[in-house]
């Protein structure tokens, strides 16, 4: 549905979390991330007692929007921290926090969030895809970060384990690439 129609629907029930979420998703599809953030935040604020999955997904997506705008790391991290504080038993936020710190080369933080995520594996889908493909993405973050914090054997063991799993193409490539390089270095 076009933004115009969605906002008109929203105007009839402006505090409805699901309607705000729909508008946010549509703006994000057009890469209008500031507009999307407004409606994701409204979803979160007006839905926190009634729509937990939408609220959680909105905080993760808001983080993604700020990340897309570049140079707003404090806010990216804050949105992710709010999400995991809100639903601490879900894995997606921990994965995104691990990935966030991986990109910054903050390896202990990456490892820690990955470990916490692996212990929180509620198995229910979110209303939108946030980049979480399954438990193995946390194993991957743990494997990569383990190498950089001095846990070489653990890193290689996890990468070998991942190599035997069914992964998306990107992860499959990344696992084989890491395994090849790290095995070579380890020798």
């Amino acid at each position: 549905m076009r933004i115009e129609q969605l906002v008109v629907e929203l105007s009839k029930d402006p505090f409805n979390p699901a309607l705000n979420f729909d508008v946010a998703v549509e703006y994000e599809k057009q890469n209008q991330t500031a507009s999307a953030v407004s409606f994701y935040l409204r979803t979160a604020e007006y839905g926190h007692e009634t729509h937990p999955a939408l609220v959680y997904a909105s905080l993760l997506k808001a983080a993604h929007c700020f990340d897309d705008q570049n140079d707003r790391q404090a806010t990216v991290s804050n949105c992710l921290l709010q999400a995991v504080a809100y639903l601490p038993y879900r894995p997606e936020g921990y994965f995104l926090l691990a990935q966030f710190h991986e990109r910054l080369g903050q390896w202990q933080e990456c490892y820690t969030w990955a470990c916490i995520g692996l212990h929180n594996q509620l198995n229910s889908h979110l209303p939108v895809h946030v980049g979480y493909e399954g438990q193995y993405v946390l194993l991957f973050e743990k494997a990569v970060s383990a190498w950089w914090i001095g846990r070489k054997d653990e890193s290689l063991e996890l990468l070998h384990k991942l190599d035997g799993m069914k992964l998306t193409h990107d992860y499959e490539v990344a696992v084989k690439s890491n395994l090849g390089r790290l095995t070579h270095v380890a020798l």
């Binding site: 991330t33 500031a34 007006y46 707003r72 806010t75």
Partner: protein, 333 residues
Amino acid sequence: MNLVEKAVHHGGKLAPLVIPHGLTSGTGLMNPSIFIDNKGNILVNLRHVNYTLYHAENEQKFPSRFGPLSYLHPEKDRRLVTVNYLCRLNDDLEMTDHAKVDTSELDVEPIWEFVGEEDCRVVQWLDDYYLVGVRRDTTTNGVGRMEYSRIEIDWDNWAVKEVRRVRINAPAPNESYCEKNWIPVLDKPYHFIKWTMPTELVYANPISGECEQVFVKPTAVPPRDQRGSSQVIRWGSMYISITHEVDLFKNYLKQKDAIYRHRLVVWDQELNVIGLSKEFSFLDARVEFCVGAAVHKGNLLVSFGFQDNAAFVLQVPGAVVEDLIMEALAYEN
């Protein structure tokens, strides 16, 4: 009932204003100013900023690190930068053209953190087009003054260039810190309503920038200070304008927050205030801001920003405008 719902329910239309992400990096598109020129072109100045407004509403369970209301600029660039796009809409309120206003010939190095001409209203006076907004980047402490930015439009190639920039003094003694939201009276060239209630009309010379007070007319005392939003336009035998009011406050952590609401003000032909509507919102957000209105085929087109992050034009059917005017007249009386 918010104004969007009311307008659409009575046959009006809402049009989102979006320009491609490649031009904006996704940050805020806000505070559009609509204007219809003497050839019938529907023009909109669309303000693009380098920040995203973060506003936690309701119980504020998820504020930013910096509070419930934060301007999230790049972390390595504390400036809040505005650039303007002049857009053209068709009769269905679809955007057909957009062009960044080329200010390069007149730009000087900004020396304060608010950069660019903000919240410009579009006007056409004596065949010249102007963006009239506030600029705060010419002093080290952010003194704000209204500016005439005369623009030339290349209609064939849809390019827009600023060709003259004149900073407008405040009326003597010109000592105020920040002048903004003066609203142009469209059928009185170079005249602005500087304050709404009481109504202060000023004349600002577009060449020298000198400004003089024309009159101050007493009015009833409004519930809150009424600040300028849309241009002042003719509606039948009256003048009307949308104004805004702000409730600025701080939470227990001394972090700032705000609620904006709008009203319709009605003047008679001599610019005596004769009506003030009840407060309304466009979409029930706490931060919304209108800087434009124009009469189009018996309806009122109103342009507004949503939380500094999104922009819309709302077609308000004439009957709804008449209702608002009647409400305003009754309220004032």
